[in-house]
Amino acid sequence: MSDLRTIKITVLRYRPEEEDAPTEQTYEVEFRDDWVVLDALNHIKDHIDGTLSFRWSCRMGVCGSCGMMVNGEPKLTCAAMLRDYYPNEVRVEPLVNFPIVRDLVIDMTDFMDKLKAVKPWIIREEEKPVSEGEYLQTPDQLKDYKQFSQCINCMLCYAACPVYGLEHDFVGPAAIALGHRYNLDSRDEGNQQRQHVIASKEGIWECTYVGECSVVCPKHVDPAEAIQQTKVATTTNRFKSLVMPWGNKK
């Protein structure tokens, strides 16, 4: 793989101490066939321009740090091969729908608040002491929520979501999917407590089912499906409570 080729990488630059608005900068990078977009960014940082800032850590698609817009699409830059873009140039920009802190780094405070808002932990009326051993859960029960537990918090789905782009109160795909994951877990009894966030106006009902979140998700979490399932469950529950308003127990 010694055959090196040269690719043009244009990155969005924004240094809040120096400039009022973002600019762009183009670098030429010689790359190996097995390089990903993130490798090119690291090459720039190490050998051409140390001032370029971006987040990364694992370089194996699991820590969720390196999401950016690559030629307009939200991507994990450690999983996007340069050769798939060559000979065209590659444009790298920070994830859209988030404020930019600097260069390719976005402000993710809002996302972190939303994660917490859906109470993503096991809620039980009574906790079983550890000395009594594990909760039994069959492989089928695990399967009910497993897919929704694969989220790496990369936020690509927020960058892809047209609703979140317009309506920042929207709880959004990953957080709803996470809440749904706990609702579906046989060990959990917290459905009611999550409902006021998930089934609120800013929750599932804001979603117009564009489905872009599921298209861009690198881990096949399918947040659109989580939203759809919750809508159905919530509607069924509401009808049930109309029929038997006193039978509201879980």
Binding site: M1, E17, D34, T51, D103, M108, I122, V130
Partner: protein, 568 residues
């Protein structure tokens, strides 16, 4: 002067740090806990652990067996009292994590499943498919969100430990987003900063694993223990070093050389692919010398063959392996063997602690990969280290909280002054001088010399050369220049500070390796091929001095298991 203060302050939000934070907040009501992490906690490298976490869960297993496997795996350098406490507490810890929602893989009857792992004599490794670390970390992080007593400092980078009257009383940290240095006061500080694999060129470790916490402790006079022991994992992808989990062998995968032989029959006939990592990695080098390996653009390799497992088992038990090989090398393990070679993976050594995670310095604790509580000795068994994060994270959290209950905060004004001094030091060193040395160049040279001198096989001459090179690299570091002189999210500065940590850890490691004139576990000296219990059944302790580090020794704690020859 107002500075933030916490009873217990965690440096690190990975598996060990989060477990410790929760334990500390449960130890006494009203305890106020801080967690400082240079990345958002769920980005910590615990996230990448694949294979599983060990505990005695089944009728065919018992505590003594887990203890013995661990001790033998450690080449008798593990402290046996530590191992005994570990195997016992491991069980409650993994169940606790189950109660916190970790999606463990399950048997048909609903119990958590266990799988085989290297060096473990029965199936005792719990797993969540092959994303165990990911699920454990997210379960811990999400659970930690419900504790109001825990305050997080996400993307804050610790630059030093504050010391007053011989005790640690807080840290200075760079708020990466603002670029300001702050003091954070604490009655107890726990280092949970993970390993240091990035001081080597070819590693499974993430960008953030530079030995920060080890160096922080070393700089205030705390010894680093058994640093010479570095684990090579036998199966990384050539080039990128991405890990192919040991679970792929636990599930029945084969290692095959270029002659089509399962060559491990020559080296570990009793265990084959489930032999311990140090021996498997050395076997690869022997095969290389005999010309029995494949050659590729990224060096030699052998094959990890999973084809006979079939698509169903691969998708159910090893989906991440399939995802990674497809994405990064364009290979589908259902149809093709995977090229693999040994890769730097884990640091057995670290900040010297006792069985509770306490260091010799008052107020300072450590847990997880950054620490050396002496569980792993000279070679860690796969799947013991995630459990280690839980067991000793919890212990350190509890003990640190108890210490905090009987201690006062140091004076705020003096801590604030120390933070100002730290800001000045950093500005002068990195912005003030017009140094010509680039971070990346020194870093590359460091990695190269570490591989040359402190790799799988080591010799006196090569180690001496590495020690000398590290000394000159430290001099070059004094003349460092960085491109970025701004404040907001200056990752150039962060990388430069990390390089300083890497140099310190590398120095301690190379000198400890030079003086250990024997072969034990992962430390293989071509010039001293035998284990030497007479002279070296002891831990090394590296202390920083103005010159080369001073190396002292500490006896190994033996309880019930006499050292014996280690064959499999």
């Amino acid at each position: 002067m107002n500075i933030p203060k916490h009873d217990v302050l965690l440096i690190g939000g990975g598996g060990a740090g989060l477990r410790a934070a929760i334990a500390a907040s449960e130890t006494y009501r009203g305890a106020d806990i801080g967690v400082v992490s240079k990345v958002y906690p769920m980005r910590s490298h615990t996230v990448s652990a694949e294979g599983g976490t060990a505990a005695v869960m089944r009728e065919d297993d018992n505590l003594d067996l887990h203890a013995y496997d661990t001790i033998k795996g450690s080449d008798f350098l593990g402290d046996q009292d530590v191992v005994e406490a570990f195997v016992k507490e491991a069980i409650d810890e993994v169940i606790q994590l189950e109660h916190w929602g970790c999606p463990w893989s399950r048997d048909e009857d609903g119990r958590v499943s266990v799988r085989a792992f290297g060096g473990m004599s029965v199936k005792r490794t719990l797993y969540a498919a092959d994303k165990t670390g990911f699920h454990m970390l997210h379960a811990l992080f999400q659970t930690s969100l419900k504790y109001d007593a825990i305050t997080r400092y996400d993307e804050w980078f610790v630059t030093s430990l504050l010391v007053e009257d011989g005790r640690v009383c807080g840290v200075t940290a760079l708020n990466i987003r603002s670029g300001n240095i702050h003091a954070i006061g604490a009655k107890s500080v726990i280092i949970c900063t993970g390993g240091a694999g990035k001081i080597f060129p070819f590693t499974t470790n993430a960008a953030i694993k530079n030995g920060d916490g080890m160096a922080l402790a070393y700089r205030i006079g705390c010894p680093l223990k058994d640093l010479e022991f570095v684990q090579y994992h036998p199966t990384g992808l050539p080039g990128t070093g991405i890990l192919m989990t040991e679970a792929s062998r636990g599930e029945g995968g084969h290692l095959v050389n270029s002659k089509g032989e399962r060559y491990l029959s020559e080296y570990v006939p009793g265990k084959m692919e489930l032999g311990p990592r140090d021996i498997l990695s050395r076997s690869f080098i022997h095969e290389q010398h005999q010309g029995n390996v494949f050659e590729g653009p990224d060096g030699s390799y052998v094959h990890l063959d999973l084809r006979h497992l079939g698509e169903k088992v691969i998708d159910e038990k090893l989906p991440f392996v399939r995802e990674l090989t497809r994405n990064y090398v364009g290979i589908d393990p259902v149809h093709e063997p995977i090229p693999v070679r040994p890769v730097v993976h884990y640091c057995m050594g670290g900040v010297h602690t006792d069985i509770n995670g306490a260091t010799p310095i008052s107020g300072l604790y450590a847990a997880g990969e950054a620490a050396c509580v002496s569980l792993n000795g000279a070679n860690r068994l796969g799947s013991n280290s995630l459990t280690e994060c839980l067991v000793f994270g919890a212990r350190a959290g509890q003990v640190a909280a108890q210490h905090a209950a009987d201690t006062d905060f140091a004076d705020s004004a003096s801590m604030a002054k120390m933070a100002q001094d730290e800001q000045k030091r950093i500005e002068t060193q990195f912005f003030g001088n017009n140094g010509k040395e680039r971070v990346a160049n020194i870093r590359d040279d460091l990695r190269k010399t570490m591989e040359e001198g402190a790799g799988i096989f080591r010799t006196e001459d090569a180690l001496k050369a590495t020690c000398d090179t590290i000394r000159t690299l430290k001099e070059r570091y004094e003349n460092i220049g960085i491109d970025d002189h701004s404040r907001v999210f200056n990752t150039d500065l962060v990388n430069a500070l990390e390089l300083g940590y890497m140099l310190d850890v590398a120095e301690g490691l190379a000198h400890s390796a030079l003086l250990r004139r024997e072969s034990r576990g992962s430390h293989a000296r071509s010039d001293y091929e035998e284990r030497d219990d007479e002279n070296f059944l002891k831990h090394s302790l590296a202390y920083q001095t103005d010159g080369d580090p001073r190396i002292e020794y500490l006896p190994v704690t033996l309880t019930r298991w006499e050292p014996e020859e280690r064959t499999y």
